[in-house]
Amino acid sequence: MKQKRKVRVMVAKPGLDGHDRGARIIARAYRDAGFEVVYTGLHQTPEEIVEAAIQEDVDMIGLSSLAGAHKYLFPRTVELLREKGADDIVVCGGGIVPDEDIEMLKEIGIKKIFTPGTTLEEIVKWVEENVKPR
């Protein structure tokens, strides 16, 4: 029996902030959309996230940050993926990210930033359209 490839995504919490309400809700929404979701838990360094993403062979990493450290943590994640030749993994982010930073993050290779107020449906739809199992 042939089966369709499943979308595998990682929901990751880089940095020290513990506000994981959003990350946990997103993880559930992804599951309910039929994705396989690897959740890293809190307090992860970009190094740990990238290593886990490679071992898990995910198609996308969703980073969540609410305490202002995205300006270091998000670019560092993208940079490490590139170093490891794994930059085919889509990276998107969500949380409290001011508009000024969004442009910068997109330029360095974050595919999408979801700001507060985005519905779960919108996020899931974006993933379905932009993340294909590789």
């Binding site: 042939k2 499943k6 599951r31």
Partner: protein, 322 residues
């Protein structure tokens, strides 16, 4: 040599990760890679960990990783979580408790979802074990929620099967008894600081000793250990028991390598043939529309399921209907 095989044997993490994904997704080409990898397998020691949700399996595995790594041995982990029957998705959260090992190149952790394809979990987990084995991991730990038959079969693949319970789960021990008690090589009572530990201990002991004859003649009798894996208590002693069991198996098993003993090979090949047959036959029948046709015929009262089944299956196997 196949490029994938070459890379996996060289321990390339991305290739290993990719191959396991292909196995899981049922990509037909993986068969060739697995054939190529087989000669490199047979060296890893496989430990299966099972128990109800919330007994602390992942935390236990996390502590096992630390201790095994201290002895300079490498480890692969396959953590299986259930797929949601409603959406087909899954949250694979076991990794959370092992994430501190993610930077250690001697550890490879992979989360798998049960996905609900019958027999498929066992097959794909076995193949994933082969991949990690060929990659050169000394130990492979397979963690599953011990509920469905599939998960139980997966654990049976292991050399040492560990059943984890927690105190105060009287009814659950009954449930274990019905399903997988006989597959347990070691029993762990985790969270043993809780009330009811002694009761659980005596319940388990009673169950194991009910069948005294099984252990006659120096046969392995499953030990029951207490652990508090969250604070790393009892984990070292537990791993010593695993080593004892390994020694016991090595001494009592015919065949050169544990993984390729006659018994294991017989069991694995049997499973593989069974699954393959189902897969091939069923997919053909679905493709040609014969299956749906037969369903319709039964519904319309033109035939009965027994005759329909004969008509569908026997010709495919070169046999004739009675």
């Amino acid at each position: 040599m196949d490029k994938v095989v070459e890379k996996v044997v060289a321990g390339d993490v991305r290739s290993v990760a990719r191959l396991i994904r292909d196995i899981d997704d049922g990509i037909p080409e993986v068969r060739e890679s697995l054939k190529g990898l087989y000669p490199y397998t047979g060296n890893a020691y496989v430990i299966g960990i099972t128990g109800a949700p919330g007994v602390g399996k992942s935390t236990l595995v996390d502590q096992m990783l630390s201790h095994i790594r201290k002895k300079d041995k490498t480890v692969g982990v396959l953590a299986v979580d259930p797929t949601s029957p409603f959406s087909g998705g899954a949250i694979l959260g076991d990794r959370v408790r092992m994430q501190r090992h993610s930077m250690d190149s001697g550890v490879f952790i992979r989360s798998l979802a049960t996905r609900g394809h019958f027999g498929g979990l066992t097959q794909s987990t076995r193949s994933a074990i082969d991949v990690l084995d060929a990659m050169g991991k000394d130990y492979i730990i397979v963690e599953t929620v011990g509920v469905g038959q599939d998960e139980v079969d997966v654990v049976k693949t292991a050399h040492t099967t560990v059943i984890v319970v927690i105190p105060g789960m009287g009814d659950d021990i009954q449930a274990i008894k019905a399903g997988i008690l006989e597959t347990g090589d070691i029993f762990l009572i985790n969270k043993a600081d809780r009330e009811g530990t002694d009761k659980t201990m005596s319940d388990l002991r009673l169950m194991i000793e009910m069948d005294q004859r099984k252990y006659e003649g120096g046969k392995w009798k499953p030990p029951i250990l207490k652990t508090e894996s969250i604070i790393d208590r009892g984990v070292v002693e537990f791993l010593e028991e695993v080593e004892k069991h390994k020694k016991y198996l090595t001494e009592t098993t015919e065949g050169l390598e544990l993984r390729k003993s006659k018994g294991k090979v017989r069991e694995e090949l049997g499973e593989m043939v069974k699954n393959r047959l189902i897969q091939e036959v069923l997919s053909k029948l679905t493709e040609t529309g014969e299956f749906d046709g037969a369903v319709q015929a039964i519904v319309e009262g033109k035939t009965d399921p027994y005759s329909a089944c004969d008509a569908l299956v026997l010709p495919r196997l070169g046999l004739h209907t009675g």
